[in-house]
Symmetry: D2
Amino acid sequence: MHFASDNWAGVPDAVSRALAEAASGAAPAYGDDGGTAAVTAKIAEVFEHEVAVFYVATGSAANSLSLAAFSPPGGVVFAHETAHVMTDECNAPAFLSPGTRFIGVPGHHGRLDAGELTHALDRFGPPNVHHGRAAAVTITNATELGTVYSPADVAAIGEVVHSRGLKLHMDGARLGNALATLGVSPADLTWRAGVDALSFGLTKTGAWSAEAVVLFTPDGVDDLPYLRKRAGHLFSKSRFVSAQFAALLEGGRWLSLAGHANAMARRLHAGLAAVPGVTFPFVPEANELFPALPRDMVARLFAAGAAFYEWPDASFGDTAGPERTRVRLVTSFATTEADVDAFLAAASG
Amino acid sequence: MHFASDNWAGVPDAVSRALAEAASGAAPAYGDDGGTAAVTAKIAEVFEHEVAVFYVATGSAANSLSLAAFSPPGGVVFAHETAHVMTDECNAPAFLSPGTRFIGVPGHHGRLDAGELTHALDRFGPPNVHHGRAAAVTITNATELGTVYSPADVAAIGEVVHSRGLKLHMDGARLGNALATLGVSPADLTWRAGVDALSFGLTKTGAWSAEAVVLFTPDGVDDLPYLRKRAGHLFSKSRFVSAQFAALLEGGRWLSLAGHANAMARRLHAGLAAVPGVTFPFVPEANELFPALPRDMVARLFAAGAAFYEWPDASFGDTAGPERTRVRLVTSFATTEADVDAFLAAASG
Amino acid sequence: MHFASDNWAGVPDAVSRALAEAASGAAPAYGDDGGTAAVTAKIAEVFEHEVAVFYVATGSAANSLSLAAFSPPGGVVFAHETAHVMTDECNAPAFLSPGTRFIGVPGHHGRLDAGELTHALDRFGPPNVHHGRAAAVTITNATELGTVYSPADVAAIGEVVHSRGLKLHMDGARLGNALATLGVSPADLTWRAGVDALSFGLTKTGAWSAEAVVLFTPDGVDDLPYLRKRAGHLFSKSRFVSAQFAALLEGGRWLSLAGHANAMARRLHAGLAAVPGVTFPFVPEANELFPALPRDMVARLFAAGAAFYEWPDASFGDTAGPERTRVRLVTSFATTEADVDAFLAAASG
Amino acid sequence: MHFASDNWAGVPDAVSRALAEAASGAAPAYGDDGGTAAVTAKIAEVFEHEVAVFYVATGSAANSLSLAAFSPPGGVVFAHETAHVMTDECNAPAFLSPGTRFIGVPGHHGRLDAGELTHALDRFGPPNVHHGRAAAVTITNATELGTVYSPADVAAIGEVVHSRGLKLHMDGARLGNALATLGVSPADLTWRAGVDALSFGLTKTGAWSAEAVVLFTPDGVDDLPYLRKRAGHLFSKSRFVSAQFAALLEGGRWLSLAGHANAMARRLHAGLAAVPGVTFPFVPEANELFPALPRDMVARLFAAGAAFYEWPDASFGDTAGPERTRVRLVTSFATTEADVDAFLAAASG
C-alpha cells in the first residue's frame, strides 16, 4: 500500500531489459553515441517537431537549466506559487541560472490562470534594473496538485507569454499523466500551445533516471551544453539514459504506464469519496489525490502499513479543519488494484 | 578495438542483474531507502572508517561539491595543473562552489609533488582579501596521466595540507585502478594518508552511473545535502545508484574489474613498447597510456577500426615531434586480450 | 519642489568640507587607514556596542552581503513582501549569497508582523533539502512604506527569530528617519531589540555614498571581508567613505538631518491632508508619504514643476480608485519649508 | 615619502571643488541625471567614439562586469598570468560572471605577447563542453609590472583576438599613465587597436572613486545595466561619480596628473639606478618601479619613514637573490620632487 510518491516505485521490466541489452559493446561517451541521436529522433517523432534534447540527472536540473537558458541577467520567471521550482528545489533554479528571480502567481487548483498571469505581468511592468526584466513563465503539467492544463489552458497562457516576448517552459515531470488524462497528442499540449521548452521527465513514469531538457525553439540550443556541463550534469555513459527513454517511448509505453497510474488514482478517488468523513478539494485529474481524512482514519491506515504523506493544508480551496488531516496519495505504474482495494478497506475500517 | 575511454564501456552483467533485482517493490525516494544506508555501511566497511556518502550524477559534480563543502568565500584550491577540475569540467568546480579560485601546480607525470605544493603554498602566502585564502588541495588517483600516488605520496601531501589547516580531497574517478596497481587497502590510500573527502567514482570502473562524495570528516556533512540539492543532484529513485554500488563493491568486484583493466593496459604497453617508433613518456601505472606513435601507424590503426583519441602533446616529459602523434589509449573492464592483440597487430602493420 | 526621492538630494556642506579636508596627505588603502578605525569606534560609541564595520558601495550590497554572511547553502531568508531585497534589487541578494531563497511575508503598512512571521516560519517547517533551511529574517526600518518599527516591534520579531536559532538583519537605509521619529537610541532600536546585522546607510540621509554592513555579532566577521571583495565592493581609497561617516555621525548630525526630513514630511502631510480629495492610507511616520491624489491635481503639480513618482497602487490598505492616483512623496535634509509650501499651493490649485 | 600605492593618495583640489559644487540642488538618481549623460558625451569626445558608460564602485567590479558581459556560459577568458583579474580580485571576475574560467598566459615584463597568446589559444582549441569556449582576452595598460603596451602591441593582440571572434578588454586602472608615457591618443590605444571594452579607472589617477565600464561595442550594452545592479554596483547619487569624472577629464587634467606621476617615477628611477647595489629588471614605463634593493637599504628606508611594499620576487626576469629584496615603488599625482629626493637621500645612506 505505497501511495507516498511515484518516486517510490522501481521500473517496469522493459526498462531493466533495455538496460541489460545496452550493457555490452562500446559507445562514445557524453552523448555522442547513436543512442542519444536515436532518442532525439524518437522524441521529435513523438512530439511531431524538431527538438534539441539534453539529458540531465533530475527534474530540478531540467527545470533550472531550461530556465537558465531563457533568463538573461536580471531575468524574472513567473510561476504558480505552489510550483516545484518555487518551493521544492532548494532554490536550484535561482542558483543555477544564476540570480534569476522567481515570482509566484496564485491560481486555483494548482493551475496558473491566464488572467492572473496577465495581472501579475501588468503589475510587474516593463524592464528596469530595480525589479528586473520578465523573461519566462513556467507551468507544471500535470500540476503539483494533481490537476491538468488542457491544450486550451496552455494556449491561453502561451498567448499571454508570447504577446510579451517571453518564453514558456513546461515542467513535465508528470506530462505522461496529463496526456493520459486528456487524450491529446504531446504536440497539442506543448509546442502547438506555445511551449518553448519542456522538462521531459520519465522517472516518475517508470524510469530509474530519465530526465531531459527538450527545446522546441533554437533559443538556448547553443548555451545548454555549457549550462549542463557547468552544473555537472553531463552523464558520461549517457546511453543508460538513452536506453530508458527508448524503452519507455517505444510503442507509447510511457503513456500506457501513466494511464495505468491515472486509472488507479481514479479507483482510489471513487472508493475514498464514498467513505464518510473523507472530502476532496476538487476532483483529481492525474495520479495525485489530496483528500482530507479523519484523524482516526489516518492512524488506522498507518497502522495497516499504508505509506503516504501528510501534506500542508494550504493551497487548497477547502480546509481540513481540526478533526481531519490533509494527505497526499500518489499512484504509479506499479500500483495494483489490490493495493488500492486494501487501502480502501483499511480506510473504511 | 575500443581504447577511446573507459566511459565507452557499458556495464558487467552483475550491474544489470542488480538493477533488475532492484526494479520491483517500493522504496522511499531521495536516499531514505535502506539501500543507501546499506551502501554507506558497505563503504564504511571497505574503507574501514565512518563515512558520510552523497550520491551525485557525475564525477564533476562530486569534485565540485566536495570542494564547495571545504571552500569558504574567498577560498582557494590547489590542484595539479592537468587536473580534471582545472581543465575538463567547464569550470563547474568554480561555478558550484561558487567563486572558488583554482591554482594549478606543476608536477612530473601528472602527480602533484609535495615539494612543489609547499612552494606554491608558500608563494601564495597567508590569507588576504586580494588573493584569497587557501582552503583545500585536490589530487587525482589514478592521475589524469595514468600514474598513481602511493600511500606514501599521498601522506606526504597530506602532511603539507594538514600542517597548514587545509583539507585534502581526492578525485577517485579511477581509484580502483590505483588500488589494483598498488595492492594496498582503500583506507591506506585515502584517510590514513590524510584524505578528508573522496570523489568515489565507479562509473569508469563498471557502473552506468555510480558517483558519490565520501566524507571521512564531519566537516561538510551538514552542508552537503543542501549543496547537492541546490545543484540539482539529488536523485529521486536513488536506489538505482545503490544497486550499482552494492553490485560493484560486493566481494571486491570493483577491484577485480579495475585489475583487469590494468592488466590489459600492461599487455598493451608491453606490446607497443616493442614496436619500433613507439615511445612512452613513462611507464603507465593504471589503465591509461600516452604513447607517441608514428603518424602512419596512427592512420593504419584508425583504418583498422581502432577507436582512440589524439591527445595534446604537452604535460609529458618528452615530445612527440613532427613525425609522431601523441595518443591516449584507455582500457576498461570490457577490454579483452583479443582487443589488445588486434590493436597490436594493426600497430605493427 | 523635489519630492521624487531622498536620493535626488546632494550633500550638506559638512560632507563637502570633510571630503576636502581628507583630500590631502597619504593614507593606507583598502580600509587600513586610521579613518576606518576611527569610524568603527564612533559607530561603536553611537550604538553602544562592539561592532565590525564593512563599507560597501550601495544599500543593495550591504543587504546582500549581510544576508550572505548569515545564509548557508540552502538558506532561506524571510522578509516583508514589499521589502527592497524582495522587489527592488534585481535579485542581488540571491545572486550574491548565492542561491539564498527569499520568502515574502505579508504585514500591514509595510511592517512585518511577529504573528505573521511566526505563521510563515511554522508553515515553512524544519530544515529539509527540498524547501531549504530558514536562516535569517530581514526587516526595514523605516519601512519601504514610510512607517517605522518601534523597539518593541523589533524586539517581538527578534524574539521569534532568535527562539528559532535564526539571525535578524535590519535594512537601515533610513534608520536615521526611524530614530528621529521614535526618539529612541540606536542601541534600543537595533541590537538591544535583537538585531544581529545592520545595513547602515547614510546616503539617503546626506552622504554621497556611505553604506556599511555593521555586525553586532561575531558571526560573519571572518567571511565578510571575502564576501565583500568577491563582489567587487572593497573601495581602495576608503577614507572618502570614512570622511562622510565621520562628518555625519559627528554631534549627531545624521539624526538632525533625518529629523529635518521628517519634519518636512509632517508639514507636507498636514498640508495635504487638509486638501479636499487627498487621502492617506495611514499616517506617515518618517520621510515618505503615499497619498492618493485626484488626477487633475497630479497633472497640476507636474505642470508646476513638482518632481515625484506615481506609485503602484498595491500594498496599501485603501485603494486610489479610478479618479485618483497613488503617488510617493519623499523629503530629505535638503527639503525646505518653501518647497513644501509651494507644493501645497500647487496642490490646492 | 609615500610610495606604497597610488591608492594612498587623496584627490587634487579640482575634485574636491567639483564635489562641493555638485552638492546642492536636486538631480535624478541612478544615473538619470544630466551629469552622467554629460560625462558619457565627454568620454565619447575624449575617445573619439560612441560609448556606453557604466559607473561601478571599483576596478575589480569594472573588470568583472565587463568580462561577464562578454562571456557566455562555459566562457573562458585569457589574461596575463600576473593580471589583477587572475591574482588580486578574490576571484570576483569568476564569481560575478559567473563561472567564467580564466587562463593565465605568460609574457615578458607583464605584457601579454601576441605570439604567446596565439599559442595558448591554439592549444586551447575549439569550443567544447569540457574545456569551455574562448570568449575574451583581457590586457592591463599600464601593466601590473609598470610597463605599457603601445598601440601596435595592442593592435597585434587585437588582431589575434578578433580573428578568432573573441572580444578584447582592457583594464585601464592606469590608462592615463600609459597614455602619458606613449603620447598617443586614447582612441589609438583602445578601440582603434581593437579594444571592445575598457575598465576606465580614474581613482588611481586622482579621484576618490571614479570607475566605469566603457563599451566601444554594442555587445553587452543591454546586459550591463542588469549585471551591474545584480552585483549591487548601481550608485544612487551617481552624480558624485560624474563630478569626479568631469573634473578629471576637463582640459585633459587626468593626463596631466598621470604625466606628473610618471615624471616622478622617472626621477626616482634615474636616482635609484645610480645607487650602488640597486638593480632594475627593466626600465619602468609608467608610475610603478620594481627594483631589487640591498637589505640594509630597505631597512634604512623604512627607518626613515618611507612607505612601500616588499613584493614577491617572481614574474621578473632577474632575481633579487638573498642579499637584496624586491620592492614596489609607486608614484602618484601627489608625489613631489621633494618626496623623491628624500627617498633617494635615504636610499643612498
